[in-house]
């Protein structure tokens, strides 16, 4: 079973290596006004243990990927989201739930959120 650090590194490298995605990718809970935008933020939401038997174990790991952009660039945001979908599906993650959008007033930005899960064996 991979460690969470290895999983995070795997996701980071995959997002970073995609030439159509922005370069600004951070492992943080939420950005502040000090961060540069546009920005992609990702983190682990939950890890649910599945089995642990005879030295073998597995868990379900769930990531959240947030894409922050400007109000007038919704089409660009959608394009970035499509790239994130390709990258995460390439890593064998499955998208869970929808991809809601929110206005973040304190940053004056729009964020598109997606959640992903995989079985870590």
């Amino acid at each position: 079973m991979k460690t969470h650090t290895e999983l995070k590194a795997e996701v980071y490298n995959a997002l970073k290596n995609d030439s159509l995605l922005i370069d600004n990718i951070l492992w943080i809970n939420a950005p502040t006004v000090k961060n540069k935008f546009p920005l992609i933020v990702y983190r682990i939401i939950d890890a649910v243990p599945d089995y642990n038997f005879c030295g073998r174990s597995s868990e379900m790991v769930q990531f959240q990927v947030d894409i922050y952009g400007n109000h007038g660039e919704m089409a660009w945001l959608d394009g970035q989201h499509e790239r994130v979908v390709s990258v995460m599906e390439g890593l064998n993650y499955r998208m869970i739930g929808g991809s809601p959008e929110f206005i973040v007033e304190e940053l004056n930005k729009v964020v598109k959120v997606s959640r992903w899960e995989t079985i870590n064996v």
């Binding site: 939420a30 939950d46 769930q62 869970i96 809601p100 929110f102």
Partner: protein, 132 residues
Amino acid sequence: MATAVNQKEIERKINNVIKVVARSVDEGLEEVGQRGVTIVKINSPYITGRLRNSMGYLIKGEIKGSSGSPSDIMKSKNIKNAVVIGTNVVYAGRVEYLSKTGSAGYMQRSYNQLKPIAEKVMQTAIKGGIGT
């Protein structure tokens, strides 16, 4: 003549089993709803209690388990063979996805905790109904 009676008898027994399973599914879903609302309320962040109290479950067109104000309770729909757990509080989605205080993902975590419980509850309910 004997074949026709047997066929009717078989149909009658099959219909009885279907009714028993349907009743068992309803009972199982009711228990899943109650347990699910408890889990979600425990995991919901709390300041004023508005979000926590608004959590309820929808089963057969009826909302139960919520003690919030009427505008905060989710709207009723007649959904068959399912239980829906949730809220109508306007900021519930923002807290779920964007909260910075560690509360983000409270619904997802609740679902993760409830899923194995729900499977066992439904298995027990249906097996109990059939009598196995």
